[in-house]
């Protein structure tokens, strides 16, 4: 009764949209200079997210609202295989996602959903907030209650009050993880204290509350840091 042919035009159009999105992501990545390999990964992830948001692929009629997983799978396969809708090979797409030994069916939640989340801040702000570290970004992203943009904005504004050296110390992986834990303890995702989360605060009140939690902790972390 149903055949694939009647869906071919829509599928091919969608395929082209995906190509455009991935090309945009590559372009964004190449437009920014990066120092370390870690910073390059950070920029790629941000770029992928920004390109994805601009493409509106998620809002396509081809998907139900809760079918993001299918889109991520499709994007992942595209990046792994690097085959355009025209049939030509595009090797640059491969760099957009991490190397994996496993088959493309493994859902790259961190990559596409994480990229979307990361790009909610401009690249400069996101880089400052996380010290341009994907590890730091993941550490906050997985703690859902404190992953809200309001809290990242508050974190960004607070870190800006420190000089670059101090910021580098605070955004070292181990230190950032300590601060993320402290924030998650203050705003747990479930259980006691979970009814009022960062999303429910006015920004200035949230800024103050975040400082109350992190300033004493930052003082300890900075005091313990080895001299540069």
């Amino acid at each position: 009764m149903f055949g694939a042919e009647e869906h071919r035009p829509a599928a091919e159009a969608f395929d082209r949209e995906i190509d455009d999105m991935l090309d945009r992501a590559v372009k964004l990545t190449e437009s920014v200079e990066a120092g370390t390999a870690g910073e390059r990964d950070f920029i790629r992830r941000w770029s992928l997210g920004r390109a994805l948001r601009a493409s509106q692929l998620q809002k396509s009629d081809n998907f139900e609202p809760d079918e993001d997983k299918i889109l991520w799978e499709a994007l992942s396969i595209k990046c792994q295989n690097g085959i355009r809708s025209s049939g030509k090979h595009e090797p640059r797409w491969r760099d957009l996602i991490p190397e994996r030994d496993s088959a493309p069916q493994r859902i790259e939640r961190d990559v596409f959903a994480g990229g979307l989340w990361l790009q909610e801040q401009d690249l400069t702000d996101a880089s400052l907030t996380f010290g341009a570290s994907l590890t730091n970004a993941r550490g906050l992203h997985r703690r859902h209650a404190v992953s809200n943009i309001n809290l990242r904005t508050a974190l960004h504004q607070w870190l800006k009050t420190y000089d670059e050296t101090s910021r580098r110390t605070l955004t070292r992986t181990k230190n950032f993880e300590t601060m993320a834990k402290a924030l998650a303890k203050r705003w747990p995702g479930r259980g006691p204290g979970s009814a009022k989360q960062p999303v429910h605060y006015e920004q200035d009140v949230l800024n103050d509350e975040l400082r109350r939690v992190l300033v004493p902790l930052a003082a300890e972390l900075l005091a313990d840091a080895p001299p540069q």
């Binding site: 006691p192 009022k196 989360q197 999303v199």
Partner: protein
């Protein structure tokens, strides 16, 4: 019923004031006071009958006329003492327990016995009896019930007396004669198969007897003897009345039959041999004393979870196994091993799991509400001494419909430890204004004995549960309970200061539960309820929200929660009430006066509630909402069942296996093995698995609370946080969730006194109640 060769109901007749002064403790020879007392403490608690329950049984076989409501009961009892003193007492229970105080005595007593007794309702009871001539006691039950008369005439009473007392009769400690005063006189004798004492190991004429004596159970406890007999010529029809209770091994304590071990022996005694199989067990004195404590008040069994009792059962099973082997009886086959996911467990989880239930097809039942109110002498604790008052006693009722007809309330007291029940206020009609009704009884004095006007009798020290019942058209439609301590301080309770729960009702679609699908635009009533378990009022801030949704349902709105006297049952108080309407984030908010409008994406959402006092979160609760989606029709399974062939495994154990939990149990567990050998092994296996699953589920629910000092209630909410499961009366579910489970939660905390013993007992009770509710769900 007349005894002889005893010392009569000796001791003084103690007035109430004196009993109160003595704290209701009696000496060994104060038999009159003990006989009349309801649970008075007598120092020789080991003697059968010394605790008072047996005497009440006489009352239940009387049925005199003249009851206004319910059934009237009464008994008379006379006694002749050593120095010639004669007394005649009268006891009524209709339904309040009343004793004539002081009793009749001397010639007046004798005169009544010879002629008739007339009570204050002009009920005349023609006695025409001879006064007692020998020292002893007689209990007279007037207007014997038809059931009791039938039992005498058809031999059922004789059979029961034989079953209970044959050994005491055999040792000449007791003689029982049934005499109807006309042509029927029967002396109770031991059954034929036990008449040849002393018993020796013999085999003749198709009958084999084996005895085993002085069996050491350790700790200085011994079974005096186990005697087994098989007679191929005997059948269960030979026991008078066809009594199957003889078909097994009787446990005798104080030479009285308490219980029979039979099902546990089915592995060893083939079905076709059971009619001819008999046995009994007697204990030495030390073990008898120990068993007295472990015996239930009705003398029908022992605590099966006690190690000593288990050791007794094992000794009997071992002895029967040896007997069976000697007689060449083949062991019964085992049923196949159980499946991993038995259907009974799936049914149970679908019944109790909130999100696995499908949408209801019938409307939500009408809701009655009922509340007991009174003021206490000391507002800090729920204690009343005899002679003190409960002030402004009232029962308030809310009906689902305005001006309901034929509604009445009654108030009853149940002693929590003794199980004794007394009626405090008989059914009283209730008038309503709209949906509200209230009955006020003013200030009531709490007394120990007979209650007069303006009084209620709570005759025993300790914790009582006062239960109000709402009746309509002959049915009980709602009940409410409240704890009170009589003449003793309530123990310290290790409950959290505040607890919170959430109820959600879909007003637009009343046929749906709160946990069912909520469509955009539905008006949903949200009520955040709290209980304050401290004596003082607490001012809290109520915060409620859905994660990722910027607009909160309640943002730190203040609520004052009234305190609860220590030991009392905390009232559920509404900390926050409001209507909410959800709408799509990309749409214009709907205009719904009086409701909070919340933009939210469709999906399964968690409503989180915190109660904050003095800056700290004192209580919290989640509630799962299904916004514009149907609840997932998945089977909820907190842990999988795993039977393992391992004799060393305990009865059950929750184990972490990777990220999952599994409920492990031993396929070789003796009880399970025996159940598999019954006539219906599947039913036996199902019963065993359901029981361990209920126990494990309760532990799964409460374990995180115990280990997080009360903070982690997520598992608890999954099991007990939703509305009552289908087919369960709300008040029964409330009793489990709001009384029994919190008691267990408190008992299991690290700083609870004797945590293991009390928690273990409460755990079994809660699991038993859960099973009962599940099994009764279709009735």
């Amino acid at each position: 019923m007349t005894d002889s060769g005893t010392h009569g109901l000796r001791g003084p007749v103690l007035p109430q004031e004196q009993l109160q002064q003595r704290g209701y403790e009696l000496d060994d020879e104060e038999n009159w006071a003990a006989f009349e007392g309801q649970g008075f403490t007598k120092s020789d608690g080991a003697a059968l009958g010394s605790r008072g329950q047996g005497k009440s049984a006489f009352l239940y076989h009387s049925n005199p006329p003249g009851a206004v409501r319910g059934r009237r009961m009464m008994m008379l009892y006379d006694t002749l003492l050593e120095k010639g003193e004669y007394r005649l007492g009268v006891r009524n229970a209709n339904p309040a327990d009343e004793i004539k105080s002081p009793p009749y005595s001397g010639n007046e007593a004798r005169s009544i016995i010879r002629d008739r007794y007339t009570d204050n309702t002009d009920l005349e009871i023609d006695l025409s009896l001879d006064p007692l001539q020998e020292i002893g006691t007689r209990v007279i039950i007037p207007y014997l019930s038809n059931d009791a008369v039938d039992a005498i005439r058809n031999g059922e009473l004789a059979a029961w007396l034989q079953r209970c007392w044959w050994r005491a009769i055999q040792t000449k400690d007791l003689e029982i004669v049934i005499d109807d005063g006309k042509s029927h006189r029967q002396e109770i004798r031991p059954p034929s198969w036990w008449r040849n004492e002393p018993w020796e190991n013999t085999s003749s004429n198709g009958a084999t007897v084996r005895k085993r004596e002085s069996i050491d159970l350790g700790n200085g406890l011994r079974i005096k003897r186990i005697v087994l007999m098989y007679d191929e010529n005997l059948g269960l029809g030979d026991a008078t009345g066809g009594d199957a209770q003889f078909g097994g091994v009787q446990l005798l304590r104080g030479r009285q039959w308490i219980t029979t071990i039979s099902r546990e022996l089915s592995e060893f005694v083939p079905k076709e041999r059971r009619p001819g199989f008999r046995g009994f067990v007697e204990f030495d004195q030390t073990l008898e004393k120990e068993l007295r404590v472990l015996e239930d008040p009705q003398h029908t069994g022992f605590d099966r979870y006690n190690k000593t009792v288990q050791a007794i059962y094992r000794a009997v099973e071992d002895t029967v196994e040896g007997f069976a082997q000697e007689l060449g009886w083949r062991r019964q086959k085992q049923a196949p091993e159980p499946e991993r996911q038995p259907e009974i467990i799936q049914k149970f989880l679908r019944w109790i799991a909130p999100n696995a239930r499908g949408p209801k097809s019938s409307p939500t039942p009408d809701k009655w509400e009922c509340k007991i109110g009174y003021t206490l002498p000391d507002s800090q604790k729920a204690r009343v001494n005899w002679g003190e008052h409960l002030g402004d006693v009232r029962v308030s009722v809310v009906s689902p419909a305005a001006f309901p007809m034929d509604v009445s309330i009654s108030l009853e007291g149940i002693h929590v430890d003794g199980g004794e029940a007394v009626s405090l206020i008989r059914e009283t009609p209730l008038d309503f204004f709209e949906r509200d009704g209230e009955a006020r009884f003013g200030s009531l004095k709490v007394v120990r004995d007979t209650a007069g006007d303006g009084q209620i009798a709570l005759p025993r020290q300790g914790r009582w549960e006062l239960t109000a019942r709402v009746h309509q058209g002959g049915w009980i439609v709602k009940s409410a309970s409240r704890s009170i301590y009589i003449h003793e301080d309530p123990p310290p309770r290790e409950l959290k200061p505040l607890t919170v729960s959430i109820s959600v009702e879909n007003r637009t679609r009343p046929d749906r539960r709160g946990s069912d699908r909520i469509d955009y635009g539905d008006r949903v009533a949200v009520q955040i309820n709290a209980r304050n378990n401290t004596p003082d009022d607490i001012l809290t801030d109520v915060t409620a929200s859905i994660p990722d949704v910027e607009k909160m349902i309640s943002n730190s709105i203040s609520s004052r929660l009234k305190g609860t006297p220590g030991g009392d049952t905390a009232d559920r108080q509404a900390a926050w009430v409001g209507d909410v309407v959800f709408f799509r984030p990309d749409e214009i908010p709907p205009d719904v006066p009086g409701a909070i409008t919340i933009p939210v994406e469709a999906g399964r959402k968690r409503l989180n509630v915190d109660l904050i006092a003095d800056g700290d979160v004192c209580a919290w609760a989640p509630y799962t909402l299904h916004i514009a989606i149907d609840p997932a029709n998945r089977d909820w399974e907190p842990f999988q069942l795993q039977g393992l062939p391992d004799e060393d495994l305990p009865r059950w154990q929750l184990k972490e296996v990777g990220e999952e939990q599994e409920l492990w149990y031993s396929l070789d567990y003796p009880t399970l093995r025996k159940l598999l050998q019954t006539d219906d092994p599947k039913a036996g296996r199902d019963a065993f698995l359901l029981e361990i699953y209920c126990e494990a589920l309760i532990q799964w629910a409460l374990g995180p609370i115990w280990s997080s000092n009360g903070n982690d209630r997520e598992n608890y909410d999954e099991v007990f946080g939703a509305e009552p499961p289908d087919g369960v009366e709300p008040e029964k579910w409330e009793r489990l969730v709001e009384v029994m489970i919190p008691d267990l939660e408190a008992a299991g905390r690290k700083n609870a006194q004797n945590p293991y013993q009390k928690a273990a007992l409460l755990h079994r009770q809660c699991a038993g109640e859960l099973m009962r509710l599940f099994e009764q769900r279709d009735n």
